[in-house]
Symmetry: C2
Subunit: 123 residues, 2 copies
DNA sequence: ATTATAATGCAAATGCATTTGCATTAGCAA
DNA sequence: TTGCTAATGCAAATGCATTTGCATTATAAT
């Protein structure tokens, strides 16, 4: 049966603490502060399990590549800070669906990626 | 000095005819209809030249990966048709920058990816 | 405690997209 | 035409992110 391991718990803590999308490298580094032997292969294996569980989803960020984020956030978009390199989830949506696409296109979904400076780097 | 080759001319024709972002595979296939010996390495080499020239830019589409599109289009976004798999450039922008990000975030740029059904597949 | 075996750590292996070495082909100046 | 050499085609090589085999470790049922 499935076992509760310290490394999986570490990953869950990482996602709970840093509540924003993260890449494998960043997740690994943060996880190692909790379980110092944490290995990249273990991170990949657990991320896959967590995605299958429905706790996480993968997103493809045009500048950051594959990121993982917690599910259950509702509709939101992503803000990339060019100073600190972090990606934030922004609730809500500034898209006017009428203006988004010309007549004839049937828009079913959309993703918006914002780029700029986050509040803490702007200070 | 730089030479005008039939394969580079073919790529230019492809981009002129299909005026939308395309991936390497698609560019190769379309190019082979013009120059049947066209090789993938040649496509990569010429795409790089064309990007350096400023005729093309690379974009990273969350669902389609790396695509190449002609420059000089002005601000626009991308529509992916789930039926035909093509990506279209949509002029204009439906983003309300006020609603896009909460107070404190300084938004400098954005990219919008729409997903759905294109006019010709909707018929 | 003991034990079965799921999960880990490590390194090697994969699967991609993309690049490169080299012999051959083909622009283009003379 | 001829000759120089940039550009091509082909296949092998790279560079990544991600996966996998296997010996070892450690969870949890007994």
């Amino acid at each position: 049966m499935k076992r509760r391991t310290s490394q999986r718990a570490a990953l869950e803590m990482v996602f709970q603490k840093e509540d924003r999308p993260m890449g494998v490298e960043e997740i690994l580094n943060a996880g190692r502060k909790i379980v110092r032997t944490l290995n990249q292969a273990t991170v990949y294996r657990n991320l896959k399990i967590m995605v299958d569980n429905g706790e996480l989803i993968q997103i493809n960020h045009p500048a950051m590549g594959t990121l993982y984020e917690r599910t259950g956030k509702g509709h939101h978009h992503h803000f990339y800070c060019r100073i600190c390199g972090r990606v934030f989830e922004l609730p809500g949506c500034g898209l006017d669906s009428k203006k988004a696409a010309p007549k004839g296109f049937i828009t079913e979904e959309h993703e918006i990626f914002l780029f700029g400076v986050c509040p803490s780097c702007a200070k």
